[in-house]
């Protein structure tokens, strides 16, 4: 038990130490992005990595969360920290009919259907002006005051956002670890390896997939809420673009599909290098993402974390064999 908890405790301590060690606001900003993308990659990985259902439409779930949070705050005065979980719930609710519809399709057909649903959601956001404000979107000019432990939270500093993002990423990774050990996790792997066989042994595959999608949507929607909270700005291109869906896919694939640590590794790698390239020229990070995706599929299809784990187990086994001999 302690052996399993040790890496989590170490990770949490490391995360807690970052704001004290790092001073530059830009570095903190990059850390926040890495953590947000870790949560998003983990959300996608629940469905894509464990159940093998490649969704090209996760931006729609992220967008529903972002819109819910910002609309609740601007129209009803609900503070964004309450709006975030509400965004997650809204995304999970939206995901139910989408899942029931799209999961009737298999393999690449499922992927194409999610792409179409996502484009539809974007179209609705662009045109349903009375709710979404159309292409203009929403802007938060001032965040509500909050007092915690007798101190007013300073929304101009990045530290409070860092704490929220770290909690979000840890929760998403913990959810992945728990899912992997749960019965549902075993169902999903069975579905990924052979859906007919999974059905034949009595797994309700549609139920398992819809449940996982809802969980994945909750995480993605909450992260969307965080996006609205941190960037204070939401419009259809910013939160519903196809490239957002693709970034989630890439982070999970580059890190390692169906692993717990994969999304973290993928997000650290892609986001930091991506931001460094974006500094030089805008949209450069997407060029880099595309190129890197091609290299990983070609030379490292199991992902960075997947390969590292395999190498580690290989070494352990060799050590055991030598010990026995």
């Amino acid at each position: 038990m302690t052996r399993q908890l040790a890496p989590w405790l170490a990770g949490a301590l490391l995360l807690a130490a970052v704001p004290a060690l790092v001073e530059s606001p830009f570095a903190i900003h990059v850390c926040i992005l890495v953590l947000m993308w870790t949560a998003l990659g983990a959300a996608w990985n629940l469905l894509g990595g464990f159940a093998g259902q490649v969704s090209f439409g996760h931006a729609s779930l992220f967008g529903v969360g972002a819109y819910t949070t910002i609309i609740l705050y601007l129209r009803a005065g609900v503070a964004p920290w309450w709006g975030m979980p509400a965004g997650g719930l809204a995304a999970a609710l939206v995901s139910l009919p989408v899942g029931l519809l799209c999961f009737r399709l298999r393999g690449p057909y499922f992927s194409l259907a999610t792409l179409a649903v996502s484009e539809l959601v974007k179209l609705v956001a662009l045109n349903w002006e009375s709710v979404t404000n159309g292409p203009v979107g929403y802007l938060i000019t001032a965040l509500p005051p909050l007092r915690l432990f007798g101190h007013a939270v300073d929304w101009e500093s990045k530290t409070p956002f860092y704490v929220v993002a770290a909690a979000l990423a840890l929760a998403a990774l913990a959810a992945t670890a728990l899912l992997r050990r749960a019965r549902l996790g075993a169902y999903l792997v069975a579905i990924r390896e052979d859906e007919e066989a999974a059905e034949a042994v009595g797994i309700d595959t549609v139920r398992a997939k819809v449940l996982t999608l809802a969980l994945s949507a909750f995480v993605a929607g909450t992260a969307g809420g965080f996006y609205a909270f941190y960037f204070r700005y939401v419009d259809p291109d910013a939160v519903l673009g196809l490239s957002l869906s693709m970034e989630m896919v890439f982070i999970a694939v580059v890190g390692g599909l169906g692993t717990v640590g994969g999304p973290l590794v993928g997000a650290v790698f892609l986001t930091t290098v991506g931001e460094a390239v974006r500094e030089r020229f805008p949209s450069g990070h997407l060029v880099f993402y595309g190129l890197f995706m091609m290299l990983v599929i070609r030379f490292l299809p199991e992902g960075i974390w997947g390969r590292a784990r395999r190498l580690a187990t290989g070494l352990q086994e060799r050590a055991l064999r030598h010990g026995a001999a």
Binding site: G52, V54, F56, L101, R104, L105, G107, P108, Y109, S111, L112, A113, L115, A116, V117, E119, L120, L123, V124, L126, N127, L242, S243, M246, V249, F250, V253, F281, S283, G284, L286, V287, Y289, G290, L291, F292, M293, M294, I297, R298, P301
Partner: protein, 287 residues
């Protein structure tokens, strides 16, 4: 009635161009089981080819087709030989993700090189529309329609009548059996991919004078293209033609009678319905 005739006409005209893009995607899928997510970027490259041809060398876009279509063919064969062939054994999902990466790379490289500005191509003969039987038609779109029709018919004859065309169809029906019959499946694959890329590029050149050009236009086109091939049945050439025309007409009627804002959405709804209820395509010929 006049509005109806007008919108059906413009729907058919754009529909044939959609069909041309769809055919490229569908033959590649038929032969190699590759769903090429970068297909829209090939169309985008064709559009920019037409634009730069006119801007730099004063080449008429329709004349520049003679340059860009063969170039895109060569680019497609190289792309397949050097990059895609090594990915194929990894399975359908790997190629899907790989071409997704390629699509992002090409679109954003274009964005970097050419900026995100919306561009148009203006033609001296594009200003005043042609009037035929009370229906007005833009000259560039009519020209594009004619050339697309000719290219599609040529492709049809090639697939139906020549040995290579038969080999492509045979490989599409059953790759292993084709191999056993002595067909050089690898050669067929290279040529098919080159052909698919050339068709996409050519459609881009033809569409360029009638649409706005910007580097990420492929995103919109690829989704439409999927609608077209799924309507007709993935892997079927006649299906893609019917699907393209159907989508063109439905979109333009929808824009007039339902809502122009949701014009693109009508196609997606149709797409989902067909995927769910007729996954082999409306005509049941796909696989």
């Amino acid at each position: 009635m006049e509005i109806f005739a007008q919108s059906v006409t413009s729907g058919v005209l754009t529909g044939v161009l959609y069909a041309m893009i769809g055919i490229g995607l569908t033959v590649v899928f038929g032969v190699m089981r590759i769903i090429n997510l970068a297909h829209g970027e090939m169309v985008m490259l064709g559009m920019f080819g037409a634009f730069w041809g006119q801007a730099l060398w004063h080449l008429d876009p329709f004349v520049s087709l003679l340059l860009w279509a063969p170039l895109m063919f060569v680019a497609g064969t190289l792309l397949y030989r050097l990059l895609l062939r090594k990915i194929l054994p990894g399975g359908e999902l790997n190629t899907l993700l790989y071409t997704a990466g390629l699509s992002l790379l090409v679109a954003n490289l274009a964005l970097f090189l050419w900026s995100g500005d919306y561009r148009t191509i203006s033609l001296s003969y594009g200003a005043s529309p042609l009037r035929v039987l009370g229906v007005s038609v833009s000259v560039p779109l009519a020209l594009a329609f004619g050339l697309a029709l000719a290219l599609t018919a040529g492709l049809w004859l090639f697939l139906a009548r020549t040995d290579l065309g038969r080999a492509i169809r045979a490989t599409s029906q059953n790759g292993e059996a084709a191999l056993l019959m002595g067909i050089d499946v690898e050669k067929v694959a290279v040529i098919t991919f080159g052909m698919g890329t050339a068709l996409a590029g050519a459609a881009g050149v033809l569409l360029a004078p009638s649409l706005y050009l910007y580097p990420t236009v492929g995103e919109l086109l690829i989704v439409k293209c999927f609608v077209v091939v799924v309507l007709g049945g993935l892997g079927s050439v006649p299906g893609a033609i019917a699907g393209g025309v159907l989508l063109g007409v439905v979109e333009s009627l929808g824009a007039v009678y339902v809502s122009s804002a949701y014009k693109d959405g009508i196609g997606f709804v149709l797409f989902l319905l067909v995927l769910l209820y007729r996954p082999a395509g409306l005509f049941g010929v796909g696989k």
